[in-house]
Each structure stands twice: as structure tokens, then as C-alpha cells.
């Protein structure tokens, strides 16, 4: 019965300790809704047909019918009792969903445009992949770095908004090992719909082994990451997917490639294009060392210094013909990432007539912060101390 109704209503699997009872209330409430709406509809239709006007004159006077207090009162009392039952059941479930059990293990969650970061007390950090042991209570301590996001796992029936500057907690217990989708449910800008990841629930031993450094691939086959770059830019599937934060050695690759990834990741490509088309901002094609007319009439050579200033203080030297809308990236781009973007711009500009520069350098870019083989224990500890201080009442 449960399974039949669940499928009928398109509900996802019930993978947390609370899912089943919530769904039961759901069936009950929706069933009554359906019956109530149809019942009144049919009553209205039936009386309309039963008492349809036989003639124009017949409709001139009709008997006066007043609702007896008993009838109206009875219906109302029934409704009130029904609603109170809904509420009592619903609210007691809600309390249980919201107040984490004392024995829960803790994972720290940060939402930012447009990814989920997880940090474990043991020092591990992941991006977009939350690894937890099955059958264990897990409490999430959550915040946001920029705008409002909402952490949502349909299979767990769990959702919690995160606001910048505030900390929230929620909890769940995954009842069986598996992979469950995380969505961002609060609109947060351009790539809101690509801000997703997965909860991976492992058997308890596997979880311990993962904590000790065994790669996640040994236990589960992860689905591909969100098509972040494609969504953000509409440029096609050639851009790398969002980092999964799964332990893998950083592959040596060209810095320009990495710059492309950073540009997608940081949202630059929402306003800038790589193909020569002006968009909200100027295109990056053929920008390298070219003369750029500024709004104040000056013409400036777009060298590294200027380009870097454009990222950190965009209002300082506005490009002619564009609105002053570019946000500052001061503090949001790691120095190495700025370098990667510069290399990207250079790689899509026609070579300069001046003496050729050295061939494109091959670098080994650091994995994004949070990747597993680059955990900085000091930073993790600091994060935890900071968060736990603010959380404990």
C-alpha cells in the first residue's frame, strides 16, 4: 500500500528515518483534499441539474432556505477537528525533524554560488558530495557565504535554508546505503538549478575507511557532476563539470584550460564571452594587450596589470559602452586563479605582432580548496572552531 501510493504520487524513495511517516500523513491529507474537492464539485453540479430552472417564471421566486445552525456548525466542527489532527501530527513530526538527537555526528555545510561544501571534524573536506554513514544520525551545521540557498534532499524529506551570517542546523538518518540527490531549493541566481550534488551513504566500515583516505570510487559509482559550465554559459558540453571533490591526483594540464574552468565557476562567463560577441561585458577574445577605449575617453593597453585591476576594482576604469555592473572579485579569486584567467584571455587572442612570448606554461594547478588530497588541517580546524563557537548557545 505504502509503495503503491508513493509511486502514484511520484514521491521519491523513502531513504531517511522520517520519510515514511511523513508520507503517511501526506497520503491522508491529499486523499481528503481529493475527496473534498470532488465531493463539493459533484454536489454543486448535482443540485444545479436537479434544481435547474424549468421556465423563466419559475426562476422569479424561489423558497427561502436558511442554513440551520446545526448543519453549518456541524460541518465546521468536523473541519476544525480534522485540521487540528493534521496539525498535531504534522507539528510533532516537524519537531522531531528539526531537533537533532544528541548522539548525532556533525558535518559542517557551506553553501555558496553555486556549490555545496562539506567539512568533517576529522579534517576532510568535500565539494558537492556529502559522505555519511548509513543508519547513523547526522547533524548538519550550515551557513552560506553569499546569498540564500536551501539544502534539500528529496529522498530524505529534508530541507533547510542557509542564510549568510547565520548558522542553522538540521539532521537526518539515512536508512540504507545509496546515493541521493541534493538540490538547492532557494533561488540564488544564474546557476541555481545547477547547484546540486549527492549524499553518499556508506556502510559504517566503508565510511571509516573513506575517512582514513580510501577513495570514494572504491565504494560507489558516482553520477557525473552538475552541468554547471554548460548551464552557465550555454557554450556546450566541452567545459569541465563542476569539481566533485573526490580524491584524485591533480592532472597536469594547461593553465588556460584551468582558467576556463575558473571563469565558468566564478560566473564571469555570465557576462563575458570567449567568442568575440559583446555581451553584458566585453568579450575576452582578442583582448590581450589590445587598446581598450575607456568611458572617460582614455585608451588603455589591456595588459596584465590592467586586466587584474578590472577584476578587483571594475569601477576604476570602465570600458566605453558598458554599464558599471561588474561586481568586484576582490577576495573571491585566488591569486593563482587570476593567473589562470589571464592565460585564458591570452590563449584566445590573436598572437601579438611583438616578440613572441614563451610557449604556454604547463602547470599543475592546485585542486580547488576542499579537494581531498589538499586538506589543510589548520584551516579545517579553524573553520570548525569558528562554527562551533557560534552554534553553541
Amino acid at each position: 500500500m505504502n509503495d503503491f501510493l508513493r509511486r502514484l504520487l511520484f514521491l521519491p524513495e523513502q531513504a531517511s528515518s522520517v520519510a515514511r511517516e511523513i508520507d503517511t500523513l501526506h497520503y491522508f491529507v491529499i486523499g481528503i483534499t481529493m475527496v473534498g474537492a470532488t465531493g463539493v464539485f459533484i454536489a454543486a453540479l448535482w443540485w444545479s441539474i436537479r434544481y435547474r430552472a424549468r421556465s423563466f417564471e419559475a426562476s422569479s421566486t424561489t423558497p427561502q432556505v436558511q442554513a440551520g445552525l446545526a448543519v453549518e456548525g456541524g460541518l465546521l466542527a468536523f473541519l476544525v477537528v480534522l485540521f487540528i489532527v493534521f496539525w498535531v501530527v504534522g507539528f510533532s513530526q516537524y519537531l522531531r525533524m528539526r531537533i537533532p538527537p544528541r548522539d548525532a555526528m556533525v558535518v559542517y555545510v557551506t553553501g555558496k554560488q553555486w556549490m555545496w561544501k562539506f567539512a568533517y571534524p576529522e579534517g576532510k573536506q568535500t565539494i558537492n558530495t556529502l559522505v555519511v554513514p548509513a543508519n547513523r544520525n547526522v547533524q548538519l551545521v550550515m551557513t552560506s557565504r553569499d546569498v540564500i540557498h536551501s539544502f534539500y534532499v528529496p529522498a530524505f524529506r529534508v530541507k533547510q535554508d542557509v542564510l549568510p551570517g547565520r548558522y542553522y542546523t538540521t539532521w537526518f538518518r539515512a536508512t540504507r546505503p545509496g546515493t541521493y540527490r541534493i538540490y538547492c531549493a532557494e533561488y540564488c541566481g544564474l546557476s541555481h538549478s545547477a547547484m546540486w550534488g549527492d549524499v553518499v551513504a556508506l556502510e559504517a566500515d566503508d565510511y571509516e575507511r573513506w575517512l582514513e583516505g580510501e577513495p570514494l570510487e572504491n565504494f560507489v559509482q558516482l553520477p557525473p557532476g552538475p552541468p554547471m559550465a554548460r548551464v552557465a554559459t550555454g557554450l556546450g558540453p566541452d567545459l569541465p563539470a563542476y569539481p566533485r571533490g573526490i580524491a584524485e591526483a591533480s592532472q597536469p594540464r594547461s593553465m588556460a584550460d584551468w582558467g576556463r574552468e575558473v571563469a565558468a565557476l566564478k560566473g564571469c562567463l555570465a557576462c563575458h564571452t570567449l567568442d568575440g560577441q559583446p555581451h553584458i561585458g566585453p568579450t575576452w577574445r582578442n583582448l590581450w594587450y589590445r587598446e581598450t577605449p575607456l568611458a572617460d575617453g582614455r585608451v588603455i593597453i589591456a595588459d596584465e596589470a590592467y586586466l587584474t585591476r578590472s577584476m578587483m576594482d571594475p569601477m576604476l576604469e570602465l570600458v566605453q559602452g558598458y554599464a558599471p555592473v561588474m561586481p568586484t572579485y576582490q577576495g573571491l579569486l585566488e591569486p593563482a586563479e587570476v593567473g589562470a584567467i589571464l592565460e585564458l584571455i591570452r590563449s584566445i587572442s590573436e598572437p601579438l605582432p611583438t616578440p613572441a612570448r614563451a610557449p604556454e606554461p604547463l602547470v599543475r594547478p592546485p585542486l580547488p580548496p576542499g579537494s581531498l588530497d589538499r586538506v589543510d588541517p589548520a584551516r579545517a580546524l579553524e573553520f570548525i572552531r569558528e562554527t562551533s563557537e557560534r552554534v553553541t548557545p
Binding site: F41, T62, Q66, L163
Partner: protein, 528 residues
């Protein structure tokens, strides 16, 4: 014969009119225009969802479109549609007055509406806002799109709403026909009274916070920036303090329409006049105490959530009283099943379904799963489109003869009603299931598993669009080819049917004597 339409015919006579009927008509034309605009946005949004990935528009444009769809539909259609359109036209007639209390202010409200509308439309054309109609900071203070014109547009529109509210309350208090007590008023007047109270009390709060967002967005004041001590959660509280009651701004006038149509078509007294009149105030009052149900997952305290949950169900009780009373009114009546009543059938089903899913989300634990998913989208579209739009169309057909002096085509009318109903259910029923399945709202890109239901919903939107188009075309055609309307085509006892169609400029050829109540169907028409 001279009537309000042909007594003066210059364009200037319309633009400078103080006649509440002409102002009402101009409002009706305006909101219909914006219904079309918002509808086109909606169709594009649905088209985009035919496939999980990019289909038609860019993600940025998608975000702008759903914002504008919301803004246009809420503030340029739903809120003004029935009060400023039909309310303006019929309230004075129903009270036996010559005009509203402040005719000049009334005209001003139309111009203010248009200033707000133009500001908003300008915002649409020039790098439109992508914040969602809720304008939540801190995103709205940071977005690189131009949120300011739209925010200011809505701010200005608020003034129009407030003026209409003040005007209606004053009119009801001071201009009732001699001898008409409050409890003798037509029920539509009660509905307008209730809605005016909400408009006056709620709208200023919206205006204030929208201005604060403008300050944040344009001048970087940081009022809602946590880094500078601002609190985005306060915004949500204040926003919903207005925007939840705004739901009742959108639904109380339709309820008034339903009361009128049901009694007229059944030719019967309402099952309980008092129940309908008083429950209006129950809704208006308790409606102000339920805003927190939009925030169960935003980080309110558990206690708050519980209180807001039970209060929200309270509103449903008042709405249920109305539903029972309308349905019971048909019992032992003498019912004409005509287009307006067909819309009312649709209204009853959609309103109950929409309302009961509202009760469902108020049961706090269920909301955690449903919040910000398509379930909620479906829920409020059932109320706003399912109920409000259906009632608007019902009212349009019901009063068409009175307003235009022409009868609409009955067969086409019923066909339109059925198409609209089917299209509506086709569009929004799948969205309940999408929400159950866990598809969040405002998603440009969605997982493949959601595609089938999305395609269904998109197909439904075409049927709905077809239905609305049919309604529009046949109504306009009836202006040319429709039969001339008699004064009282429905054999109704409501006062607006006692004057010729269309009414003369002064509403009644001579000062009306209301010897019978508007619902006294059990008495002979003329006293002996």
C-alpha cells in the same frame, strides 16, 4: 438612449472622466492587456521546460522571465483586476450611488497604475530584474540585472491599490442608498470592504521594504547585508506580512463575485448571508497572522512555525464556510446553467483543491519537503489562476451584458470555460506531482526524470492559452455581432440589473428605490 458609453465619445472624455464606470472599464482593458503579457511570459517559461537542458532561452533570460511573469501577474493583473475593474464599475451601482466617494482620486489611481506599469515595463525592456517576484535580499541587492525600475514600479502600483481601498471604504460608509443598512448590502460590497482593509494595512509595508531593497541595490546601503549588521530574514518576515494577505487581496474579490453569480444564477437567497459577510472579515483579520507559513524552512523557531501553522488552518476554516454556503445556495434554487456558473463549478473544484493543499503545507512537517518545489507553485496557481482567474472570467461573462450592452455567445462561452478548466488542470496538476518528486522551483535546468511531467504541463499550458484566446476573441466579436442585452438578462434581483444595459451616466435613470433586498427571491418582485 444615452448611456455612459455614448454620452461623450471623444478620447479626451475618457482620459479625463471621473465616471467610475469608465474608470472601471479602462482598468479592465489595462489588466487584460497585462494578463496577455504575463501569459506570454508563462508560455515561454513552459516551452523552456520541454527539455531538461537549454531549450529556447538562456538561463539568465529564464530567470528574468519568471520574475517578470510573477510581477506582472501579481501586481498588474491579479491585484487590480476585480477590485479596480469590476469593483469600480459596480460598487456605486450596487449601493445606489452616483459615483464613488472620491471620483478624482479614482481617476488618479488609474494614472498611478499606469505610471507604475510603465516603470515596470521599462524595467522589463532594459536588463530586467532576475530576482523572482519575491525580491529576496541579499540576492536582490547584489544582482547585476536592473532591479530598481521594477521595484519602483511595484512601489508606485501600491499607491494605486491604497487609493482604491480608501475610496471603497469611504463609499461604503457614506454613499449607501437611503435606508440601506450594512446588512442589506450586496455581498460583493462586503468582499470589497474586506479587501480594502487589507490593501490599506498591508501595502505600505511592502512599499517600505521595496524601497529598502532599492537603497541596497542602487546605493549599497547594506540594509539587508549581514556583513554590515543587516538581516535578510527580517525582509522575509516583512515581505510576507504583506504578500500573504495579498493572496486575500487576490481571492476575496473573486469570492464576492462567486456570491453574486451563485445567487443570481440559482435565483435564491444565499444559504447564509451572515456567514458569507462575517467570514470575509475572519479571512481579512486572521490572514494577517499567517505569514510565517512561507518560512518554515527559513530558520524560524519551532514555536513560531507551530503557531503560524495552526493560524493558517484557521483561514481555511473561514474559506470553507463560504464554500459550503455557496454550494448549499444551489439547493432548491431555480438554476440557470450558463457560462458564468460553469466557471463557478470550475472555481469550486480548483479553489477547494488549492485551499486544501494550503492546509496540507500548513501541517509543518509536510512543508519541509514541499517548500520551494513545484508543489507550492501548483498550490498557489490553483488559488491565483484556478480560483481568481476563473472568477474573473465568470465575472466578465456575467457582467458583460451590463458593461457593454451586448450579450456574449452562450455556446462559445461554455466551450471557453471548459477549455480553460481542462487546460488549467493539465498545466498545474502535473506540477503537484513534480513537487512531490522533488523538483525545486525556478529551475532552468532539471533532472531527466522530471521530463515527462514537464512536457505534460507544457501541453496543458497550450490548451489553457487556447481557451483564453477563444474567450477573448468571442467576447470581442460579440461587441460587433452580439445580441442587444436587456436590462436584466439573468432574471436577477441584484441592484445592478435594475438599470438599463449599459447604465446611464448617473447609473440609474431616476433615483432608485430598493424596495427588496438583493437576494429576496422568496418575495414577489413588487410589494402589493
Amino acid at each position: 438612449m444615452k448611456n455612459y458609453l455614448n454620452c461623450e465619445t471623444t478620447i479626451w472624455s475618457w482620459l479625463s472622466t471621473k465616471d467610475h464606470k469608465r474608470i472601471g472599464v479602462m482598468f479592465l482593458v489595462s489588466v487584460t492587456l497585462f494578463l496577455l503579457v504575463g501569459g506570454v511570459f508563462a508560455l515561454i517559461l513552459r516551452l523552456e521546460h520541454l527539455t531538461p537542458g537549454p531549450t529556447l532561452v538562456s538561463p539568465n533570460m529564464y530567470n528574468q522571465l519568471f520574475t517578470l511573469h510573477g510581477v506582472v501577474m501579481v501586481w498588474l493583473f491579479l491585484i487590480p483586476a476585480i477590485p479596480a475593474g469590476f469593483g469600480n464599475f459596480f460598487l456605486p451601482i450596487m449601493l445606489g450611488a452616483k459615483d464613488v466617494a472620491f471620483p478624482r482620486l479614482n481617476l488618479a489611481s488609474l494614472y498611478i497604475f499606469w505610471i507604475g506599469a510603465i516603470l515596470t515595463i521599462y524595467g522589463v525592456l532594459d536588463r530586467a530584474a532576475d530576482t523572482g517576484w519575491t525580491f529576496y535580499p541579499p540576492y536582490s541587492s547584489q544582482t547585476y540585472t536592473k532591479a530598481t525600475p521594477v521595484l519602483l514600479g511595484v512601489f508606485v502600483l501600491g499607491w494605486s491599490t491604497i487609493i482604491t481601498g480608501v475610496n471603497f471604504i469611504t463609499t461604503i460608509h457614506t454613499l449607501r442608498a437611503k435606508g440601506m443598512r450594512f446588512m442589506d448590502m450586496p455581498l460583493f460590497a462586503w468582499a470589497l470592504y474586506g479587501v480594502s482593509i487589507i490593501q490599506i494595512l498591508g501595502t505600505p509595508v511592502l512599499g517600505i521594504i521595496l524601497l529598502m531593497v532599492v537603497m541596497d541595490h542602487s546605493f549599497d546601503w547594506g540594509l539587508f547585508d549581514p556583513a554590515r549588521g543587516g538581516d535578510p530574514l527580517i525582509y522575509q518576515h516583512l515581505f510576507w506580512f504583506y504578500s500573504h494577505p495579498a493572496v486575500y487581496i487576490m481571492i476575496l474579490p473573486p469570492m464576492g463575485v462567486v456570491s453574486e453569480i451563485v445567487t443570481s444564477m440559482a435565483h435564491k437567497n444565499p444559504l447564509s448571508y451572515k456567514a458569507i459577510a462575517y467570514s470575509t472579515f475572519g479571512i481579512a483579520f486572521v490572514g494577517f497572522l499567517t505569514w510565517g507559513h512561507h518560512m518554515f524552512t527559513s530558520g524560524m523557531s519551532e514555536l513560531n512555525a507551530g503557531i503560524f501553522g495552526i493560524l493558517s488552518m484557521g483561514v481555511a476554516v473561514f474559506s470553507a464556510i463560504k464554500v459550503f454556503t455557496w454550494t448549499g445556495t444551489l439547493y432548491r434554487g431555480s438554476v440557470w446553467i450558463r457560462t458564468p456558473l460553469v466557471y463557478i463549478f470550475a472555481f469550486l473544484f480548483l479553489f477547494i483543491f488549492g485551499g486544501m493543499t494550503g492546509v496540507a503545507v500548513a501541517a509543518t512537517s509536510l512543508d519541509v519537503h514541499w517548500h520551494d518545489t513545484y508543489f507550492v507553485v501548483a498550490h498557489f496557481h490553483f488559488i491565483m489562476v484556478g480560483a481568481s482567474l476563473t472568477a474573473f472570467l465568470a465575472a466578465l461573462h456575467y457582467w458583460w451584458p451590463k458593461i457593454t450592452g451586448k450579450m456574449y455567445f452562450e455556446g462559445w462561452g461554455v466551450a471557453g470555460a471548459i477549455l480553460v478548466f481542462l487546460g488549467f488542470v493539465g498545466t498545474f496538476f502535473p506540477q503537484f506531482l513534480l513537487g512531490n518528486a522533488g523538483m525545486p522551483r525556478r529551475y532552468y535546468h532539471y533532472s531527466e526524470q522530471f521530463q515527462a511531467l514537464n512536457v505534460l504541463s507544457t501541453a496543458g499550458s497550450w490548451v489553457l492559452a487556447l481557451g483564453l484566446l477563444l474567450v477573448l476573441v468571442t467576447l470581442i466579436w460579440s461587441l460587433v455581432a452580439g445580441e442587444k442585452a436587456p436590462a436584466n438578462p439573468w432574471n436577477s434581483r441584484s441592484y445592478e440589473w435594475m438599470t438599463p444595459s449599459p447604465p446611464p451616466k448617473e447609473n440609474f435613470p431616476e433615483t432608485p428605490r430598493f424596495v427588496r433586498g438583493p437576494y429576496d427571491y422568496h418575495l414577489p418582485l413588487e410589494p402589493p
